[in-house]
Subunit: 234 residues, 2 copies
């Protein structure tokens, strides 16, 4: 196996490994002893799920968060220079997409480390595929501002990009604020604009539905506490 | 298995199935007899690769391209209303992302068909993960204009979005025009802007490298005829 920084996707929610993770990823994980992780507990749980035979206590975990300094991040990659591969796991989905992993990848690129991204579930990509929206031009905006006035301004601005640029708009929210966000969308976007709500992607109760704002207004969905992706298009 | 429209990702280039496709996808494909495809020959080859035991001649293929009318597309989904699942395959990567599949998904959403996106390789997502660029705010722009003046104008405009909006910019090109595009980027973007070149993703000769425009200018890469993703960020 190449001595590289492997970007290892993690299951979303409780979905089984074989549903969303190629078997090659298991082989890669079995051959790595150094893992950079957001949360050690969930990383241990995922690795155990991948292969219960792996001796978790023999592995080295390096904790990554927004506050980890660039110097510490660079040190996390040092096993590579001694000939040992390193894995990067996020808490859910694909590392470095909508999570803090991108910083360590950027440092790896600067240090001329080989970066190997592995295939796995991305709720952003899966929801875009299933939305029926433009997949040739799209923007992922992360979280919208929390403050009411700013939030509505941003919402209206990104709605403009649908019509001006023919661009699908994708964003996320902390699950406990989902209802508030749906409310803001239904109140502030054009009745004919389409909204795709995608919740619990790859899980048993997966829900992905596209309707116009007008149609959603007649049956406001309950998404409280469900991880959800929001997509807007014309 | 649910009676639904399954969105089935395909390998990129010659990469082995187990490297990039979860084993669940094999099970789904084994249980589908109706496939909407861009290219029948490559779809048959992929299905044979997934499971050589599948009787390809018993399967029904429906050909999808830019010119297929909405009425014909809607008819492609009719097996679902008779209780039979339908699969959508693109030529490479994830259906409905940077290819014509999105139209049929939109029709499916309108007809209230359940849409189930499956996990698989997306060169856009994999290159973004490995670029080290902002994964919390990014835009995929598809192809840039071909005409020289328009193309440079677009390039400068999207470069602005990196600095104004802190947004990673992603785009593609027809492989035989890759060198021309690299040339345009190196000539027209700021020396400090970073360019990630990602070629032959998931294949043996995978190449993913981030450098500044200034650095690339000293060693212009040869990407002729290699499928490539271009990413810009600060």
């Amino acid at each position: 196996m190449k001595v590289a920084l492997y970007l290892i996707p993690v299951t979303l929610g409780d979905s089984p490994i074989d549903l969303v993770i190629p078997s090659h990823n298991r082989y890669v994980i079995q051959n790595i002893r150094h893992f950079i992780v957001e949360n050690e507990r969930s990383a241990r749980r995922f690795i155990k799920k991948i292969d219960p035979a792996i001796e978790i206590d023999d592995l080295q975990f390096y904790i990554l968060n927004k506050h980890t300094s660039p110097e510490v991040l660079a040190a996390f990659l040092s096993p590579i220079f001694k000939g040992e591969p390193v894995g990067l796991l996020s808490e859910a989905g694909c590392p470095a997409i909508a999570d803090p992993g991108a910083d360590i990848v950027a440092i790896g690129q600067k240090m001329n480390v080989q970066i190997v991204p592995l295939v796995g579930p991305s709720s952003i990509l899966l929801s875009l595929m299933a939305s029926g929206f433009n997949g040739q031009n799209f923007a992922f905006r992360g979280y919208l501002p929390i403050e009411a006035e700013q939030r509505i301004k941003t919402l209206k601005k990104i709605e403009q990009s649908i019509y001006n640029q023919d661009q699908t708009q994708i964003f996320i929210e902390t699950p406990y604020r989902n209802s508030k966000l749906v409310d803001d969308i239904l109140k502030n976007c054009r009745p004919t604009t389409k909204l795709c709500l995608a919740a619990d992607i790859t899980c048993d109760n997966e829900f992905i539905k596209t309707l116009t704002i007008q149609e959603w207004s007649k049956k406001v969905p309950k998404l409280e506490k469900r991880p959800c992706i929001f997509l807007l298009y014309k």
